[in-house]
């Protein structure tokens, strides 16, 4: 691959870098402007979570090229404290009511596929895919 697939998240500024890289991939894959904006927002949320709760981590991209469909996979990984109660953070209104933005339910809505693995003390890994329509 001709690009560095990951962006390290250490400071708030890195969120912009992750968005930028994600948007470039999205454009290349032929996503429309609305989907580009949604992908960028999902990346923001994931990167922001890393920055706020884990301190450091990375956001990586993978282009999926299947016979019948193409898509962009975002992988957000950190070695932070992990999420103790996943069902709670996946609940609607849990983060939005605190003014923290769309939160993980938002990411799930913005994307087509969403997977989360997290263990208390072991960090968190989130994978999200958007398919080109």
């Amino acid at each position: 691959m001709g690009f560095n697939p990951c962006v390290n998240i250490r400071k708030e500024w890195d969120i912009v870098g992750a968005r930028q890289l994600g948007r470039e991939h999205a454009k290349e894959l032929g996503f429309g402007t609305v989907d580009q904006a949604r992908i960028a927002t999902a990346i923001s949320e994931l990167a922001r979570n890393i920055y706020l709760y884990a301190g450091t981590g990375k956001v990586c991209f993978e282009i999926i090229n299947q016979l019948d469909k193409k898509g962009l996979k975002i992988i957000a990984v950190d070695k932070g404290p992990g999420i103790r109660d996943i069902s709670q953070v996946m609940q609607d209104g849990y983060s939005t009511s605190g003014g923290l933005g769309a939160g993980l339910p938002g990411v799930k809505r913005l994307m087509d596929h969403f997977e989360i693995r997290s263990d208390s003390g072991e960090g968190t890994e989130i994978e999200a895919i958007k398919w080109v329509r």
Binding site: G32, T33, V34, A37, R38, A40, T41, D92, G93, T96, G101, A102, P105, G106, R109, L110
Partner: protein, 336 residues
């Protein structure tokens, strides 16, 4: 006027019409379009996208700054789109909860149902209406072979689901007491123990238990901190408070309740109620007990059931059909 269709073609047509004519009709149709979009779960960023596309088709030479600025706007709308989806999800969830509660409420009705008994020489009227879907007031009639009538009336401080759950417990405890144990003071003492052991100390239950004996024409009763009822002297047209003091149920482990006896004369009434009646609120003001009595007096000439229904309707109207608390009123009249 033709109906508005939810597509790019139509949006472009409306936009063009508006740009040409600056006409209110087009704006009205834009409003229809907006409503339809919300109904179909279409988020604001999608509308802006449609707008950009329509504009580009109408003006192929659109300045780059304008088209870029619209893309900027689209980006700024993303969170609103998410909020809309969340709202729709929560609304669906709410109606799910509401239907669950209504199932619980009808189950409660079945569990706590009581039949107004037919006792020779007595006329009984009872009404109990919850402020929300579940009732925290509870009344129950018990009869036996000797023709005595037991009346239980309880009120959980607080309303809604916790209150309703506590009431089911009261009812089943009473059912489990032996048949021969009918003395009001004993019943309250036993219930006090049950409540003390099983209910959170922050929850209080007040209760009145009365026992009418047709043979001796007496009414024995005891109260666990319950809103005092009234004895109506028909001959003088006067109300007398039914005095009975006692601690609310569950306050301490061992409480004794004093039992009182009244002789009941022909045409006199026993009026039992919960504080949902006496604490009716009109605006910011609680109505006075005297006002409650006046209202009851206005209807006391009616048959007992009609009387309680009329009193309830009066207070319901007074409070703009929005009860602040569960409302229960019982009138028992001695006919012979």
């Amino acid at each position: 006027m033709e109906s508005v269709k939810l597509d790019l073609e139509n949006y472009r047509k409306l936009l063009k019409e508006y740009l040409l004519t600056n006409d209110e009709t087009a704006l009205y149709q834009a409003e229809q379009f907006s409503k339809l979009s919300v109904q179909h779960n279409i988020s604001p960023e999608e509308i802006i996208h449609v707008h950009i596309e329509a504009l580009k088709e109408l003006y192929p030479e659109l300045p780059r700054e304008v088209s870029d600025s619209l893309n900027f706007l689209l980006e700024a709308m993303i969170s609103y789109g998410l909020a809309l989806q969340e709202y729709q999800f929560l609304r669906a969830k709410q109606s799910e909860l509401e239907s669950e509660i209504s199932v619980a409420a009808s189950m409660q009705k079945t569990l706590l149902s009581t039949v107004k008994p037919d006792i020779k020489g007595l006329e009984i009227g009872a009404v109990s209406v919850p402020a929300n879907s579940m009732n925290g007031d509870y009344y129950h009639f018990v009869t036996d072979k000797e023709g005595t009538l037991g009346i239980a009336l309880a009120d959980v401080i607080g309303k809604g689901i916790p209150a309703a759950l506590a009431m089911s417990m009261i009812k089943y405890s009473m059912d489990s007491f032996p048949e021969n144990q009918r003395q009001p003071s004993m019943i309250l003492e036993n219930l006090n123990r049950v409540v003390e052991r099983n209910v959170d100390p922050s929850m209080f239950i007040t209760m009145f238990y009365g026992l009418y004996n047709p043979e001796s024409e007496t009414f024995s009763y005891a109260s666990a901190g319950h809103e005092p009822g009234f004895y109506y002297h028909a001959s003088e047209g006067m109300f007398e408070e039914i005095e009975a003091r006692g601690l609310v149920l569950g306050a301490t482990e061992h409480t004794t309740y004093q039992q009182f006896v009244n002789h009941i004369k022909k045409d006199d009434c026993i009026i039992l109620l919960t504080d949902g009646v006496t604490e009716c609120r009109v605006g910011d003001r609680f109505i006075e007990r005297d006002e409650v009595l006046q209202v009851i007096k206005d209807y006391i000439h009616l048959p007992a059931q009609e009387a309680v229904d009329s009193v309830f309707k009066y207070f319901e109207r007074l409070q703009d059909f929005h009860l602040r608390d569960d409302f229960t009123l019982i009138i028992i009249r001695k006919k012979v």
